[in-house]
């Protein structure tokens, strides 16, 4: 079981996350929504070791992962995708899948399920965005993750591509893995997740009127 317990995060004086707790059990499908700047990506960065929380605990099976580097999270089975697709530009798609030492049969099966056979010898710049997104997910799935975080995986996908991508995800993310997905597109959320957590902005909205000097409190 993966748990984010009472996570807070501030950047300087700006509170981005305030007392957030999320529990992910095997098979959970959770969507994370919220407006811009509510800390969705920050939360994924904290949950995968890329950012340290200001306070709070990150637990896997009751063991703390606080202060551990991201590669330890990954080796513990906590995998992620990035908001902008992140592949090695000089490697073919086939080689993007070779970072993991996984069972070749499993690799073949995933590639076949994801219909990526035709692009295996292409470089990322030769592949359309929806396929790049799929490649990133397949790369993460090759490690048989226990928890998978996807950061806006549908960004840039058309409606048709989106439903195909949703089908692909629901078919290929194994039943034992917990999935947390950050997504603006409610249609993807509806198909994929059982529960939606909504983050709200903790940055105070400022509505001021008057001359610029007065508005910034300089009058």
């Amino acid at each position: 079981m993966f748990e984010l317990r009472r996570i807070t995060k501030s950047f300087g004086g700006v509170h981005v996350l305030d007392d957030i707790s999320i529990v992910l059990k095997p098979g959970d499908r959770v969507g994370l929504s919220g407006g811009n700047g509510t800390g969705k990506s920050t939360l994924i960065n904290i949950a995968t070791g890329f950012l340290a929380p200001s306070s709070g605990q990150i637990l896997l099976d009751g063991h703390s992962l606080n202060d551990q580097p991201p590669w330890k999270y990954a080796r513990a089975g906590i995998r992620r995708s990035f908001q902008t697709s992140r592949l090695v530009p000089t490697l073919t798609v086939r080689d993007q899948f070779r970072f993991e030492t996984c069972d070749p049969a499993r690799r073949r099966q995933l590639v076949a399920h994801s219909a990526l056979e035709d692009v295996l010898d292409l470089f990322p710049f030769q592949v359309p965005l929806p396929v790049l997104r799929k490649i990133e997910v397949v790369r993460a799935l090759l490690a048989d993750p226990r928890v998978l975080f996807l950061d806006e995986p549908s960004a840039g996908l058309s409606g048709e591509e989106l439903s195909a991508f949703a089908r692909f995800l629901s078919r290929n993310v194994s039943g034992d893995a917990a999935l947390l997905i950050v997504e603006h597109r409610q249609d993807l959320m509806r198909v994929l997740v059982d529960e939606i957590v909504t983050l709200e902005s903790h940055v105070p909205s400022v509505a001021t009127a008057g001359k610029p000097a007065e508005a910034v409190g300089d009058a």
Binding site: A74, V88, T90, R108
Partner: protein, 299 residues
């Protein structure tokens, strides 16, 4: 084969070891201006083992390789938190520190009536292994080329392994590497250590061939050249650095008419090549494309 040609080819092969060591560091994304330090360490260790202790060449090569590797690991351990420009400066400082230290160490010895041993700026003379074992220049050329080919075969095999793929990932995108469970500092340490071993081995052969070594031979320009060879040759395959060495030493140095203008010609050539081939002649993408065509295989 004329003595001149054999000497030039041997020099190409010897400097190739240094270029390959710079290549191994570049693979993990770091730029080292200090590979000449490990080359120097290998040279001095072999000089000491063969000329002072009368040790066997195999022992000398082995100890030089280990010494080069350990020195590189020491540098890596000291500066593992540095990267990019800071690592480059640290490696340069390390190499200069070593060279300046070698200039200060004077332990002159007399063996069989000949002065030898470390003698500061005068260097280490009478490394007579090549004469004592009746090695002609062509014999030494064969020895060097065989060693270089063995190293190349090893690296070619290594290229297609998961370890090398992950090392290139670390060099390309350290954050992505971490998200895939790859520990970047371990890969950096290991590859910098390996690079030191390769340079140390090359330095050992360099000392045997030249029979005299001195600290000035291992100056900054040697390290800059090693790096330039790799940059113009490309990071796609171990053959890249060798192409760079071949162009500079094999081609430019051997054209006598260019001898005075070699550095200018080489500088100009590097600039032109990098404009036309920004990723070097054997870029990773070109090599991977070629490899994909040669060996279309299952996932």
């Amino acid at each position: 084969m004329s003595l001149y040609v054999a000497s030039t080819l041997t020099n190409v092969a010897l400097i190739s070891f240094l270029a390959l060591s710079a290549y191994l560091v570049l693979v993990v994304g770091e730029v080292s201006f200090g590979q000449q330090a490990f080359f120097a360490i290998g040279a001095y260790v072999t000089a000491t083992v063969t000329a002072i202790f009368g040790g066997h060449i195999i022992l000398a090569l082995f100890l030089s390789t280990i010494a080069g590797g350990l020195a590189a690991l020491l540098l890596a351990a000291l500066v593992i938190r540095l990267s990019g420009l800071y690592f480059a400066i640290a490696s340069l400082c390390f190499a200069e520190l070593l060279r300046l230290t070698l200039l200060r160490i004077r332990i002159p010895l007399e063996i069989d009536g000949r002065s030898t041993g470390m003698d500061g700026p005068e260097g280490f003379s009478n490394i007579r292994w090549i004469f004592e074992n009746d090695f002609e220049v062509t014999d030494f050329l064969i020895l060097t080329v065989v060693c270089l080919l063995a190293l190349l075969l090893l690296l070619f095999y290594f290229e297609r392994t998961t370890v090398m793929l992950r090392a290139r990932l670390v060099g390309r995108d350290s954050l992505l590497a971490q998200s895939l469970g790859v520990r970047p500092d371990h890969y950096r340490m290991a590859f910098i250590g390996l690079s030191g071993m390769v340079a140390g081995f090359g330095g050992a052969l360099f000392a045997l061939f030249n029979t005299h070594i001195e600290p000035q031979m291992f100056g900054v320009m040697l390290g800059v050249h090693a790096l330039a060879y790799t940059v113009i040759g490309g990071l796609g395959a171990p053959l890249g650095p060798l192409i760079g060495v071949g162009i500079d030493i094999g081609l430019l140095e051997s054209i006598r008419a260019l001898s005075e203008y070699r550095m200018i010609a080489f500088g100009g050539l590097v600039a032109v090549l990098l404009i036309i081939f920004p990723q070097g002649l054997l870029s990773p993408r070109a090599v991977n494309r070629l490899w994909g065509r040669i060996r279309r295989r299952d996932v």
